[in-house]
């Protein structure tokens, strides 16, 4: 089977897979061929350390592409591309087969950077980059008594934690004096160091490794200070090196990585590059999220949809130590000009908390968080968009460590639509709300529909929170009675306002309905009944807010509220006879009608709540708030009214 003018993607890593998915999503008819050097089915590289630590099993990592019809898609595993004939737009694979392409995406990724240390080729020296490495390490893991990890970065620390699985003694060595030096500042590193130390991971910082000793098998390592550290396993996690040979041999512009422009294009307009192999604006990104962004940009441009890449804000999250270590944007104070940047901190080592925000002219440009911090996702979004923050937000941060109040954060649906929920895939709150509105009722369905939470899984709790009670039962039953009763009350209220006061009777003979307005006792009965009923139905306000008072469910309360409101309108009629009165009484009446009007509005909103999107549903609360706000002068006016009736 031969595919016509396919788009060829080289590399089965997360970026390559992402590109294939994106192309298929945007144009399901487009023929695609994915080449992979590895023999494994595409898998989620980010979670390799989870596999090593035993937290996840191999099937959990697989990112199969079976949803794509084989009529348009071919997956070629263990099949390296060895040559690109740019002139004829033909590639040659390691089996000698040729394949023409319309466009080519290079997602070849990177290989571990192996430092030039004598003895790195000995048995027992490992790297941690792909499935083969992990499988080798998993075999080694059981026997290793003492593992030395070179490199105190993200990967090194994750590997250290994973290697502890069978009580192996783990030592992390870095030639720099602090951990995660790229992402954290000194205070952050220090706190992280103490947290790592508490995990029984030994740290040797500030001294490079000079030798890896042993005959065939690693026996020890020698440090620059002359000390020797015995060990049986060494894992090298000292960084990555982009794989650029293929590009180089094809004559593409290559610096440290394959150079790409803002369209993710290499120097050949038909060849694109994305991920760790690509270099944009002299920057190599060693994280998955920027790679996915570049991949998306490449795919859009290939398919003729305009997209521009402007560089990425780097955001990292480390979870190995049980607590979150988070870093985004510009955080290195040494690089910052004090005249333009403002740094505020929340530093509580006794609580294992350290937080730092960097502002450039009141715009958030960087953040560090060591220790759990529920605002991380939102902060990442704010940094990405360099959002302006208000002085009270900063005040709150300095005092409590939080920028936003808890409720604002807890309700993910209230976040800006542009807030990134899934930072790996760059999926925004709005998009997720969209697929939820289209009927996705579980986190799995949301993941399937838009790809959120399919890479690192950090954002899954956010997605679940967005789903809220949805999928269980509707939060707004009784929509029909709501609408009908609201309309009924609205009708009565409009009548109230337009009709003249009910005429008093001309004769005392026969039935005297106007006794209602002539007889003081009847007036008091209708008046106090109105108040009592109004008081009764405002218990809903307590039911809504109180943690202790949980009698009947909120929808039932709402139905009670609106049903009894009909009675209130009737009682109001009995009390006033449609007469507005003058002065105070008139104000009271207007206030009452305003409350009823607000209630009608809110009632109608709740009546169609189920047809509203999550974003629009926030108006439900707002309408109820308006209803309550309008009711606020009522107690005072009512009190004055009652006072005046008895005083005069």
């Amino acid at each position: 089977m031969k595919l016509q003018d396919p788009i060829i993607v080289i590399g089965t890593g997360p970026v390559g897979v992402h590109c294939v998915q994106q192309i298929h999503r945007l144009n399901p008819q487009q023929a695609i061929i994915l080449y992979g050097l590895e023999s494994h089915l595409p898998y989620n590289r980010i979670k390799l350390t989870s596999l090593l630590s035993g937290k996840e099993q191999q099937p959990d990592l697989e990112t199969p592409l079976d949803e794509i019809d084989t009529a348009v898609f071919q997956l070629k595993l263990a099949c390296a591309v060895v040559d690109i004939d740019r002139q004829n737009k033909i590639i040659t694979d390691s089996h000698g087969q040729q394949q023409s392409y319309s466009s080519l995406i290079l997602a070849t990724g990177s290989r571990p950077h192996i430092p030039n240390i004598p003895g790195v080729d000995k048995q027992g020296v490992f790297t941690l980059r792909d499935m083969d490495h992990v499988q080798a390490l998993m075999a080694r893991q059981i026997r290793s008594r003492r593992t030395v990890i070179l490199g105190g970065g993200l990967l090194g620390l994750e590997a250290a934690r994973a290697m502890q699985r069978y009580n192996t003694e783990v030592i992390v060595i870095d030639h720099l004096p602090r951990l995660m030096s790229r992402q954290l500042d000194e205070r952050g590193s220090k706190l992280l160091t103490s947290m790592i130390y508490n995990l029984n991971i030994r740290l040797i910082l500030g001294y490079g490794v000079t030798h890896i000793n042993g005959d065939n098998q690693v026996k020890s390592i020698s440090l620059r200070n002359g000390k020797e550290v015995p060990c049986d396993t060494v894992i090298i996690a000292t960084g990555i090196q982009p794989i650029t040979e293929l590009a180089r041999s094809a004559g593409l512009a290559v610096a440290r990585g394959i150079k790409i422009n803002e369209l993710a294009q290499t120097s050949d307009e038909n060849i694109y590059a994305a991920g760790e192999c690509a270099e944009y604006n002299k920057t190599l990104y060693g994280l998955v999220a920027p790679g996915l962004e570049q991949g998306s940009v490449a795919v859009h441009n290939i398919l003729g949809k305009k997209a521009v890449y402007k560089g990425s804000t780097e955001a990292t999250r480390l979870k190995v130590v049980g607590k979150t270590v988070f870093s985004v944007g510009m955080v290195d104070e040494e690089l910052l000009d004090k005249n333009f940047y403002q740094v505020i901190r929340y530093d509580h080592p006794e609580l294992n908390l350290y937080r730092k925000l960097v502002f450039k002219r009141h715009r958030l440009v960087g953040a560090i968080g060591v220790g759990d911090w529920h605002e991380i996702s939102r902060i990442q979004e704010a940094v990405t968009h360099q959002r302006m923050l208000m002085p009270w937000h900063k005040k709150s941060f300095e005092k409590k460590g939080f920028l936003w109040n808890r409720q604002e954060n807890d309700d993910v649906n209230k976040w800006p639509a542009s807030a990134i929920i899934c930072s790996c895939k760059g999926i925004r709150r709005g998009e997720i709300s969209g697929v939820i509105a289209q009927g996705c009722q579980s986190a799995e369905a949301v993941s399937k529909a838009c790809g959120a939470s399919t890479v690192c899984g950090n954002c899954r709790p956010l997605v679940e929170r967005m789903l809220g009670d949805q999928g269980k039962t509707s939060r707004f039953p009784y929509s029909k009675p709501f609408t009908l009763l609201s309309l009924l009350i609205a009708f009565a209220t409009v009548l109230f306002m337009l009709m003249p006061a009910i005429a008093m009777q001309e004769s005392v003979q026969g039935f005297n309905y106007d006794e209602l307005w002539r007889n003081g006792v009847l007036k008091q009965i209708s008046g106090y009944s109105t108040i009592a009923l109004a008081g009764l139905i405002s218990i809903i306000s307590i039911r809504k807010r109180s943690k202790r008072f949980r009698f009947l469910s909120l929808p039932v309360w709402r139905l009670l509220h609106i049903s009894l409101s009909v009675l209130i309108v009737l009682l109001l009629l009995m009390h006033t006879g449609l007469s507005f009165g003058e002065n105070l009484n008139q104000y009271l009446m207007l206030s009452f009608l305003a409350v009823i009007g607000g209630g009608v509005f809110s009632g109608l909103m709740h009546g169609m709540a189920n047809r509203l999107s999550i974003g629009q549903q926030k108006w439900l609360n707002k309408s109820a708030g308006l209803h309550l706000l309008l009711a606020w002068p009522l107690p005072v006016l009512l009190s004055l009214h009652i006072f005046s009736v008895y005083y005069f």
Binding site: Q505, R518, L584, V636, L640
Partner: protein, 448 residues
Amino acid sequence: MGMKAKLKWMYWGGVSLLILVPVAIAWLGGDKSLFLPGASTHGHYQIEMACSACHKDGFGGGESLQTSCMDCHGAELKAARDSHPKSKFTDPRNADRLEMIDARYCMSCHVEHNPQVTRNMGVTLQDDFCFQCHADIAEDRPSHKGMEFVSCANGGCHNYHDNTALYEDFLLAHQNEPAIQAHPQIPATNTLEIYRAMLGYQPQALTPQAANAPDYVKVAANIEKDWGHSQHAVAGVNCNDCHLDQQSKVWINKPGQQLCAQCHQSQVDGFLEGKHGMRLAQGLSPMTPGMARQPMHTDSRDKQLSCMSCHTDHRFNVQQAAVESCMTCHNDEHTNNYKQSPHYELWKKEQAGMLPAGSGVSCASCHMPRETHKAQGKQAVTVQHNQNLNLRPNEKMIRGVCLQCHGYEFSINALADDALKLNNFNGMPKQHVESMKMVQQRQKSKSK
């Protein structure tokens, strides 16, 4: 409670204060207009902003209000020999009637500030309210069979309170009277005589030269002249008698009604009870035609009512006060037709000396009638200055005013004729009130 909740309650407190504080400030400053639940009746609107005139004690309830009613209207009701007095209803035999209308209280029928239900005479009950107690009247008085209950009080036969000219014996006493009596004259006032009796001696009449204003007061020549020709000069009342404060001996340029009251107590009392002076009586600013609900001349809208506004100083011409003073302000059809009326013809002739004194009929003749009562051991004839006393319903005018010159039937028919009232009684009454005939028939059937 969370910070946000606290903040909300604070907002609520703020909103409440925002309403309460101005209300409290206005209340303490005496302005309770916010609480006025509706326009007041024609009888009370002038003083509606003096809440405490009626609402004497806060939270006083019905009894307190009843006391207020009686403070102003009690004497009048007594004088009118109220046909439905409270005593009638405190009688246990009538207890069941109170179920229908609690007639012990004025407010059962006269609810204030309720323009929607307010009818003639400030009654807030339906016009056929008599039905409540007198539904079976036709059994007692077969002549009333088939009559509408709205006609009891509106037909000119009955009045809930004032019975002075509407009881059978009175009608019988005045049956068969001619339209105009043999000696159609009203009594002359004798204020000077009473004054002299009060003093116990005859003070000398004064001349303009005798004016005794202090040296530091410059008295215009025309003022001395006017005073010199006034009844005050005749009675020996000099400048200082009115203008000098009795205690401090300080000159008062414009003496108020309390100074007039030194000699004219009953007149001032009447003035303060009526619509011209009721605002002054409550300590409010004087009434002005601009505040009136009746039609008034626009150019006099800002005139302030006091004794002097009608009795122009220093002449104190009562003839002028009786007609021209009224017409400066009042601008309704009845007033404007006065000068085309037979009453005015008589008044002109009296002024010209063609008819004996008391033959003319001025505005005051009817609306500020002369009353006879005992004073200083004599029959005193004084002018009732409460112009409202014999109005609403106007049958109250029959005994004290109309019968002085006219026969009963003519009077009651004329008062029932709305067109006649508007053209100021220019012509013969076209209405006919049946009461005289019914009384006579009943008398006949009794004597049989």
